[in-house]
Symmetry: C2
Subunit: 208 residues, 2 copies
DNA sequence: TTATTTTTTGAGCAACCGCTCAATAATGCT
DNA sequence: AGCATTATTGAGCGGTTGCTCAAAAAATAA
């Protein structure tokens, strides 16, 4: 945000490309094809940038991938918050988030979470991208937990429930259902399982 | 199985390498690194075979991958049957299968199902490997369903349950828990969720 | 305009990719 | 042993990979 020296003389030549748009496009490509499946040529074509510009802006393919990861996480958090605001119940917002994320995707890449795809693709235990994705997944779960906390204190869920347990349970169901949809293509079965999950919230399960 | 002509003269030179061993090694490599992440050089080194032999035996990298997929599916089905035989309850066998598959893996690749990793990596909708993996996953679920059917008729599970619903539910939980373990590394949380799942079988949930 | 700074371009490098095939080695039959 | 057949070898092909960098273009400041 600020210059660490007195006053950087001036800027010759200002921002040329729309950085957010570029990252969003890159995210979509990586999300669909994976890290190894997306070549720098693919990126050049899709982003309409030449290698020099790409590497000046992001340093490396992995650097761009990392920006795509954080952009994705921000997008999902924002989307969840929007749903909660639109419905005016936290639980209703969560429910709509789950529905939209799993079922209302027409593109195959959206059938699964970009972060989970990342931790499953990358096997090198010391990869910065792996730990970044794991960190973002943890934050995502904490966000769910915070929402359930709110829903509990608003009396939307019976108070014998534990928000942490619900957060991790929701995360697990999301992962499971999205994998299942990708492997079976059976939208109806998945829809039924989602209904069942939220029905269960009003009654039993997850006490910890 | 049979020769389509009268009688193929003779065999000079018989089988030289242990085909099953080669496929098992290939499976482990592919399972860990993925299809695109495993190079033919990796395979040559790990299998101690030169490209000529590899391509004579399997046709292509994808041909070998396909054999690895079916080998994996067979291995898992066999393992489940063994557990069911050892415990002498079907439900106990399923429970042990879930435990072993998810928690007793020391290698990172075993943190997730090879078939699911495949359907998540391959985005080309017309890929033969994608549909092969989907077919094997379907068979796996049918196998679970058959087991639950048996458990139901043996009175191991309350009879208000539906075996199909339990089969797909188990599949979803397996997918979800394994993804979750890979993203959090939290064995205890996963162990707790598994306990909860099987506790739930004795009482509520999954009526279709 | 001219000088200065920054961005963009794209040819191309070294390494690696999946895979081929002529040469060689190994095997079984007679 | 000699022959026929098959398996194995490994140099190396044409193409792709992630990425570099000198040159050209664009933008601002004076």
């Amino acid at each position: 945000m600020f210059n660490n020296s007195v006053q950087v003389s001036v800027m010759a030549n200002t921002a040329k490309f729309d950085r957010e748009k570029v990252i969003r496009n890159a995210m979509n490509l990586f999300w669909l094809k994976g890290l190894k499946g997306t070549s720098t040529r693919d990126l050049q074509d899709s982003l309409d940038m030449r290698p020099g510009s790409l590497y000046a802006a992001f340093g490396s393919k992995e650097g761009l991938y990392k920006e795509a990861l954080t952009y994705y996480a921000g997008l999902m958090a924002e989307r969840l918050q929007n749903y909660i605001d639109e419905e005016d119940s936290t639980l209703g917002g969560i429910k709509r988030f789950v529905h939209c994320n799993i079922l209302e995707s027409d593109f195959p890449e959206e059938a699964h979470c970009f972060l989970v795809k990342t931790v499953l693709e990358i096997y090198e235990q010391d990869s910065p991208l792996l730990s970044e994705a794991q960190t973002l997944l943890k934050k995502s779960e904490e966000n769910f937990t915070r929402c359930f906390q709110k829903a509990l204190s608003d009396g939307e869920i019976p108070d014998h429930h534990n928000p942490q347990a619900l957060g991790s349970l929701l995360q697990i169901q999301l992962f499971g259902l999205r994998s299942y949809l990708r492997s079976t293509q059976d939208r109806d079965a998945v829809k039924g399982q989602i209904e069942m999950f939220f029905k269960g919230l009003d009654t039993t399960t997850a006490k910890t």
